[in-house]
Amino acid sequence: MKKNQSRKWLFPIALASMVLLSACGGGAKPAAEAGAAGGKEPIKLGAVFSLTGPNSPLGVPEKQAVEMLVKEINGAGGVDGRPVEVVFEDDKSDNTEAVKAVKKLVSKEKVVALLGSSGSGPSLGMAEFSQAEKIPLISMAAADQMTNPVRAGIFKTPHTDVHGTKRIYKYLKEKGITKIALLNDSNPYGSGWTQQLQKYAPEYGITIVAEEKYGTKDPSMSSQLTKIKGTDAQALIVAGTNPGPATIVKEAKQLNLSIPIISSHGSANSKFLELVGDAGEGVLMVAGKLLVSDQIAADDPQAAIVKKFVDGYKAAYNVEPDGFAGYGYDGLNLMVEGLKQAGGDASKLNEVLEKVKYVGVTGEFVFSAEDHNGLTEDSMIMVEVKDGKFQILK
């Protein structure tokens, strides 16, 4: 009786949900195919990305970049004659799911090294586990906490707000600007920036004359801008993710705020240009080189790999890759570089990765025992919005 009852309900529900979901599903494959370098036993890597949930705009391009790179690596003979296999898991942008996923990858799939995740919370959860199990992890999370303080075997690829802050201050110093105002989002991204901007200001001889913040969902920031207008600030720094910075730029124009506005890499994308329209002319931004991949100087050390990556990604997915795709791409490349140097022996990866030097699309990575991010502020550039496009500043 018990069985009949539950079956009666569960079956139609399961059936209905399956029909519904297969109708609207995408085409994600569980694992990337092992390519031409077959024959030998593959090197199995695990990747956890946020393929669904709020972090999915980060996780999906990261996964696509990794899938593309796996094909390329295996097509070129793999690592040490062995093909690379990456098993993907989705953490649904959730910490608990990320920890479950990483346990599954290690205990069931027996992966030797890990990539991911997209967000900071899930990545920190993964790091706790992989540190205890001594399995190397390269994360795509922005949080400085990932690699500060340094932990054995835990690395990350994205720029941090420290790099952005230093790059902006370097620019301000060149221009002789010493007094600035801040208008940052009150979310973790914006408040992280505020902390770094405050911390490094004295080092560059900069005074913060006004410090305002706004809520991520605020429809208007004109009262903060009016306050800033009343100060003697020579530039305004805005750190937030869209749409906040676009609103600020538009309202600043309406209020005739004439000082230059510098926005962070969190808003440096085509969505910003779309939101801001004509009001965006002249806005400055700090960003990764990938944003203006067609303007990178030919003698730039990153020029070759950026071109290769952008062309490959466009051919595979018919869209321009964004910074997140770059983080994923660099993550796997760094892992593979480590594996090559370790002669395919994953147990040595933790030590070997600390010596890896690699020119990636995000920047030039120089890992060391003290630095598990390996990037400097020089991997970022200043761009200006000109004629509705991002233009690199020389």
Partner: protein, 337 residues
């Protein structure tokens, strides 16, 4: 206790056997971790069941007690260097104190108002955790929370620790339900007016149920913090509170076993969907939320009392039918003679 084992002997035996052999049926770290998470949720769900089923209240803020428990133990162990055992005791007490204060303030509220008050409390706690940066680490959270030193802290020993606590919580709640207090609770659930006129101090009983549920959620939260090793405010919001609510409603609000079964059903469905997603490419991510929502709607429409009470009543009906048929046969046989 004697009465309890008599009444629940069979169910308890099956439960204990399944619980003990599970890690060996699925000798895989991953399934053990799934078992651990389900156990943690079951503790919260059983507590919520006391509030919802017995005292007839709706709490939409259970995840906040879970969060308070988690952060209490995490802060005490990482910032003050106390052992996780002290942390866990504190993680039971602190949420209970919060529940007491909140319960005192809103004990007079009924139905929707209590739901609203707990909903608001849930938001306050999540925002509080996020903004109290020097202590909780704010939105970026805390890392390197020590493990519970229980037989080496392996996945298997954690599994038995957590399910041991689930068993304690379960026995406590079953026992409570069949005591005078339990009867008082059920009287309140049916009719507050009638209960009051029978001399039951409704306010006091509601408050007690609320405090106990907060304590259970806190214990579970503390264990969660040590199990995960990291914390951020994300899991302690509305979404999780509703998930707990769904578990209790699916299993059956009036039954303690229902809360446990509801948690298991939700857990199995999630895992089933994960397995299915390896075969059917579209089944990914938040699909489980859609399925849970659908199940919740179906349950409320067709089986408002929940799985366990429905199955029990069907079982009892079948037994009665059988008995009746037997009796009839006997009568017929007698007549034939």
């Amino acid at each position: 206790m004697k009465q309890l084992t008599k009444k629940w002997g069979k169910s308890l035996g099956i439960y204990l056997a399944l619980m003990i052999i599970f890690p060996f049926v699925m000798p895989d770290e991953y399934y053990r971790s799934v078992g651990i998470i389900i156990g943690l949720q079951a503790i919260v769900a059983i507590g919520l069941c006391l509030v919802m089923g017995l005292a007839g209240q709706i709490s939409l803020g259970q995840a906040s007690f879970w969060g308070i428990g988690a952060y209490t133990s995490a802060v005490l162990t990482t910032k003050f260097g106390l052992t996780p055992l002290v942390g866990l005791v504190a993680s039971a007490i602190v949420p209970a104190v919060f529940a007491f204060i909140l319960g005192r303030a809103i004990a007079g509220l009924q139905g929707y108002y209590l739901a609203m008050a707990t909903l608001a409390f849930g938001y306050i706690v999540q925002i509080g955790i996020q903004e109290w940066e020097p202590v909780t680490g704010g939105a970026s959270g805390m890392i390197s929370i020590p493990q519970v030193p229980f037989f080496g802290g392996s996945e298997l020993s954690m599994y038995y620790l957590i399910w041991g606590i689930v068993t304690c919580v379960l026995l406590f709640s079953l026992n409570l339900m069949h005591s005078r207090i339990g009867r008082a609770f059920r009287a309140i659930h049916k009719s507050e007016v009638a209960a009051t006129s029978m001399g039951i101090d409704v306010r006091k009983f509601k408050l007690n149920a609320f405090v106990v549920s907060g304590m259970f959620a806190g214990i579970s939260g503390g264990l969660y913090a040590h199990y995960m090793g990291i914390l951020d405010p994300q899991p302690f919001g509305m979404h999780e509170s509703i998930k707990f609510l769904t578990m209790v409603v699916i299993g059956g609000m009036t039954s303690i076993w229902g809360a446990l079964i509801g948690t298991l059903v939700i857990g199995f469905i999630s895992e089933g969907l994960v397995m299915l997603s390896e075969v059917v490419p579209g089944l990914q991510g938040d699909v489980d939320t859609i399925v849970f929502g659908g199940i919740l709607v179906l349950i409320v429409m067709f089986m408002p009392e929940g799985l366990v009470p429905r199955i029990r009543s069907l079982y009892e009906k079948a037994q009665a039918k059988k008995a009746a048929a037997n009796a009839e046969q006997r009568v017929e046989r007698k007549a034939a003679i």
